[in-house]
């Protein structure tokens, strides 16, 4: 490697600094502001010193600055563990590298660091816009790399064009590597989960007013692709945490003590199965959201006695799950523990509700009758479904809602319904999850957002087992049919997305669906390509991924074949001889070949002429003119275009 020292000129220094800024800019969102500013200041300072021709700081000064920066990062992140601290340190060190930027070697180190920084951008965001940004940055960086690789030459190289050509030619290889490179099923070292509190989503505790907060969010919770037809909206209850314990106000999930020797009766799944894949956004919890009621694969997931589907580990990355559900089912008998837990009331609280429940029990003929009486009450009395219910601050919030305010959201209806049922002696509990979802007609999948979060009730009846009852549907049947239109719901008054849309709204909606469909495809096919999908892919090709020899052969043949094609494309591209002089000379050689004088590859024009002269002096006489002219034109200095033309004409006229 040449160790020639090249001090960057001003123009190149500017290019390098701008390129580095472009590469690192998206990280500014995650860095503390002081660090972002310090990094930019370092860049500006380096530019300034380059323009003024000032000396760079000594090793001692640089060492002290490095120590200070390391200490500050250490303080800021309280340690170097974790992704954010690591990236802060990487960027700080890159900026500090500028303070000794002088030689070609430093330039290369900076460019290589920039390639690495580009990769770290994806740790935060792998969306299509970010991929496009990194693509552009890679292009610029490669062009800069070509441009600065050889500082000595004066020639203006077409760096930008060459960089895009290089990328273009390498894309087939990249795709092959992407598909074939073996993926590991799990992390090599543990990946710390980041900021668990920052995500919105369901919780294992339901407070009155808790879900209405979620409803404000347009964030996507998950997307579902059905193998068959999309089920009716009234069937689309996505089961989340089941809450079976109350303190009179809030609801919690507690583990059931089934008691000794309890043999659970197996669930009877009835009717037709619904198969689907659900792409879950990370929520840092273990639960999956299946359609009621999921038939669980015990190897992959945990299925608790509340029929909640749990992943083995918290879901920290977007993940795809294959599930099967049956909308008709019979869950069988309750254990003594379940009986006790699902009838339990919160002591002395909400006495009026409990009294009402007890009264219903006396009046009703069957448990089913009790259920429909309560639903009728919600339907017929002046209950209002609202996003902004009055705060219930008394000791008996359910009483307050049920008899006084009568304004509430799904959690109010669900919790008061369950309390009434328990008072009436019917085992009941709250189920939280999502209801509905918007059908994306472009990709034919369902998008479920946080605003589709919902709470409903389940009662246990002798003849059907656990049965879903949604008291909200009694008050506001539209809720189950359509999504809440959060944007236009004001003053707590809930508006649902209109069936009839204006042309403009329709267009906007169509556009949004298109974008979402592209994002979904990206998530599913590009970002979702993991060890499992890779294994499926190899299976389809008839290759056993566990047999490393087969894998190596496939890898070698595909990559080798592609390389051969690319090499042929680059090297064998027919290059027409554009040199008229050369063409004329070759024409002459062809004529001579017909006379029996084959020019050898390594023979110069002089050698060739001499050989002919030895064998056939009279022919040589005829040729001496053209050969001499050729040599003077080719290797002489001052040949004009006129001379070339004359020579070409001369050759044309030669006949043997």
């Amino acid at each position: 490697m040449s160790t020639r020292i090249t001090v960057l000129d001003h123009g190149n220094m500017k290019l390098l600094l701008l390129c580095l800024l472009f590469v690192a800019a998206p990280h500014a969102i995650h860095l503390p502001i002081w660090l972002s500013l310090a990094i930019i200041a370092t860049g500006v300072w380096r530019w300034w010193t380059a323009q003024r021709g000032l000396a760079l700081p000594s090793v001692k000064v640089r060492f002290i600055v490095v120590a200070i920066v390391v200490a500050l990062v250490l303080l800021q992140y309280s340690g170097f563990n974790g992704r954010d601290a690591g990236i802060a340190l990487l960027l700080a060190m890159t900026a500090l590298k500028l303070t000794e930027l002088q030689q070609r070697r430093d330039v290369l180190v900076l460019i290589f660091l920039a390639y690495f920084i580009l990769a770290t951008l994806f740790l935060f965001d792998q969306s299509i816009p970010m991929a496009a940004y990194v693509f552009v940055a890679t292009w610029l960086l490669l062009a800069l790399h070509i441009h600065l690789s050889h500082g000595q030459t004066q020639a203006k190289k077409p760096s930008l064009k060459l960089a895009i050509v290089l990328i273009g030619q390498s894309i087939p290889l990249m795709i092959a590597l992407f598909l074939l490179f073996p993926r590991l099923p799990g992390p090599v070292w543990s990946v710390p989960t980041h900021d668990p509190a920052a995500r919105t989503g369901l919780d294992t505790r339901l407070e009155l007013g808790g879900i209405s907060n979620l409803v404000e969010s347009d964030e996507i919770a998950f997307r579902v692709q059905f193998d068959g037809p999309v089920p009716m909206s009234s069937q689309r209850y996505w089961r989340g945490p089941v809450l079976n314990m109350s303190n009179g106000r809030d609801w919690f999930a507690v583990a059931v003590n089934h008691g000794k020797d309890w043999q659970p009766t197996p669930i009877q799944y009835l009717g037709e199965a619904i198969d689907y894949s659900i792409t879950l956004e990370p929520h840092n919890q273990r639960w999956l959201l299946g359609l009621d009621l999921v038939q669980a694969n015990a190897d992959t997931y945990e299925f608790n006695s509340d029929y909640q589907l749990l992943n083995k580990t918290p879901i920290t990355e977007r993940q795809v799950f294959r599930l099967r559900s049956y909308p008709d089912y019979h869950t069988g008998a309750l254990s003594p523990g379940e009986w006790r837990l699902n009838l339990r009331l919160a002591g002395e609280r909400n006495p009026r509700t409990i009294a009402l429940g007890r009264q219903l029990r006396l009046e009703a003929v069957t448990d089913r009758d009790t259920v429909s009486r309560v639903l009728d009450m919600f339907r017929n009395e002046a209950y209002t479904y609202t996003l902004k219910p009055p705060l219930l601050e008394s000791l008996h919030p359910v009483d307050e809602f049920l008899f006084d305010s009568k304004r509430g959201f799904c959690e109010h209806f669900a919790s008061s319904f369950v309390t009434l049922m328990r008072a009436a002696g019917i085992p009941a509990r709250i189920v939280t999850g999502y209801q509905g979802g918007e059908l994306n007609t472009v990709g034919n999948y369902l998008t479920v957002r946080q605003r589709d979060a919902h709470a409903w009730a389940e009662v246990w009846l002798e003849d059907s087992g656990w049965l879903r009852v949604d008291p909200t549907a009694a008050v506001a049947p539209e809720r189950v049919e359509r999504s809440i239109d959060v944007g236009s719901s004001r003053d707590g008054r809930i508006l649902f997305t209109a069936q009839q849309l204006s042309a403009l709204e329709n267009m906007a909606r169509q556009l949004q669906q298109n974008i979402d469909a592209i994002n979904h495809a990206w998530n599913l096919w590009v970002l979702g390509y993991d060890a499992a999908t890779q294994s499926d892919f190899f299976d389809k090709l008839g290759i056993d991924i566990k047999d490393w020899r087969q894998l190596a052969w496939t890898f070698g043949i595909v990559i080798g074949g592609l390389l051969a094609i690319i090499a042929a494309f680059i090297l064998l591209k027919r290059e027409r001889i554009n040199d008229p002089l050369q063409r004329a000379y070759l024409e002459l050689c062809k004529k001579l070949a017909r006379q029996g004088f084959e020019r050898m590859d390594n023979e110069t024009a002089n050698d060739f002429a001499q050989r002919i002269a030895q064998q056939q002096p009279e022919l040589a006489q005829k040729l001496s003119g053209p050969f001499t002219t050729y040599n003077t034109l080719r290797y002489g200095s001052a040949a004009t275009a006129e001379d070339h033309k004359r020579f070409i004409k001369q050759i044309r006229q030669i006949k043997f």
Binding site: M1, L108, F112, Y115, F116, L118, A119, T120, F122, L123, Q126, M130, A131, T138, L142, H145, I146, S149, H150, Q152, T153, Q154, A155, K157, L162, L166, I167, S170, I171, L173, M174, L177, F178, F181, R183, L184, P187, V188, V191, E317, V526, L527, Y529, D530, L563, I566, A567, I570, L571, E575, R576, I577, N578, D579, D601, N602, T604, N606, D607, Y635
Partner: protein, 327 residues
């Protein structure tokens, strides 16, 4: 390490060497084309470092199951693979010719001027030419362009100075790979003896000949004009005629009193090199005075003559005397 291996391989007889080391011989005036088969290509140090960066990105991508980081690493890796072909193409088909060689005196540097021709329609960049113990050069070539590269090789000793094995190399475009080819340049410069100090000239030595050499100007009688010929001294050009745009005309002199001079081996003392140095000095002095002179060495005689051709002839004899070479 690679360099050491190559040197070992280059010592083998040609038919045993790897194909790339069976390089063509390039004599003066000939030209050769760098054929693809003779081009080596390997990652440079920078390329190895680049591979290291890619491996780190891959490990990170594996750990975080980050598919876009995978895609970036694979793109960069593929770019490096593809760039191999570009680097190769930058060298393959290049034409090379020794266009001019400047001889030198011992202790100076022989100058080899090579002409590179790019027969293709693509520009070629950053072609490095180096040879053992030479100061290399670096050229760019436009489409169907020619360029000259100059290599300086020190000639410490009298005799022949071949350029030796020439390495034509390139790292274009990314500097991640280096492609190179060897050409054995048999064209050689001559290294003349180092001229002895003027003072060491013994006065009595110019005994042979018709007269005593004198230094004084004005000995030449003006004889007439003739058109300028290569080798005529600048001092004899009729500048007035040139100013009047009558072309280059030389004044001619007859030298009655400037005797012809024999530079004779027998007039010198010391060992072989010292004697040749002495003769070289006298030769240069005589040439400087436009004297007619001849050279006598044991077994060799150059008849009386003058001008650059005579000077070259004699210096050649001095350079090659006793080296076993056929002058």
């Amino acid at each position: 390490m690679i360099g050491a291996l190559q040197q070992q391989l280059a010592k083998l007889p040609p038919w045993l060497r790897p194909r790339g080391l069976r390089y063509p011989r390039l004599a003066s005036g000939e030209h050769t084309r760098l054929a693809g088969k003779r081009i080596f290509i390997l990652p440079s140090k920078q390329g190895l470092f680049f591979i290291g960066v890619l491996i780190v990105i891959l490990i990170g991508a594996s750990n975080y199951a980050n598919n876009m980081a995978f895609a970036l690493a694979f793109t960069l890796g593929s770019v490096m693979l593809v760039s191999i072909f570009h680097t190769y193409r930058n060298l393959a088909g290049l034409e090379l010719r020794v266009s001019h060689i400047d001889d030198c005196f011992a202790g100076e540097q022989g100058v080899f001027t090579l002409q590179l021709s790019n027969p293709s329609r693509r520009a070629r960049y950053d072609i490095e030419l180096t040879s053992l113990a030479t100061q290399g050069d670096r050229v760019d070539l436009g489409p169907q362009d020619h360029a000259r590269a100059t290599l300086l090789k020190p000639g410490p000793r009298r005799g022949r100075l071949p350029l030796g094995r020439l390495t034509v190399a390139t790292r274009y475009p990314l500097g991640l790979c280096r492609a190179w080819a060897y050409v054995e340049v048999s064209a050689e410069a001559l290294v003349y003896p180092r001229p002895a100090d003027s003072h060491s000239r013994p006065g009595h030595s110019q005994s042979v000949g018709e007269g005593i050499e004198t230094n004084e100007p004005g000995n030449d009688d003006f004889h007439g004009f003739r058109p300028y010929q290569a080798g005529d001294s600048m001092r004899h050009i009729n500048w007035k005629a040139l100013a009047r745009e009558r072309g280059l005309i030389s004044k001619q002199f007859h030298r009655h009193q400037n005797p012809e001079l024999w530079l004779d081996w027998d007039d010198t003392r010391g060992d072989l090199e010292a004697r040749l140095s002495q003769l070289c000095r006298w030769l240069l002095d005589a040439d400087g005075r436009q004297q007619r002179y001849g050279l006598r060495l044991p077994g060799v005689e150059v008849t009386i003559g003058e001008g650059p051709a005579q000077r070259r002839r004699c210096l050649r004899q001095l350079a090659l005397f006793g080296t076993g070479g056929n002058a």
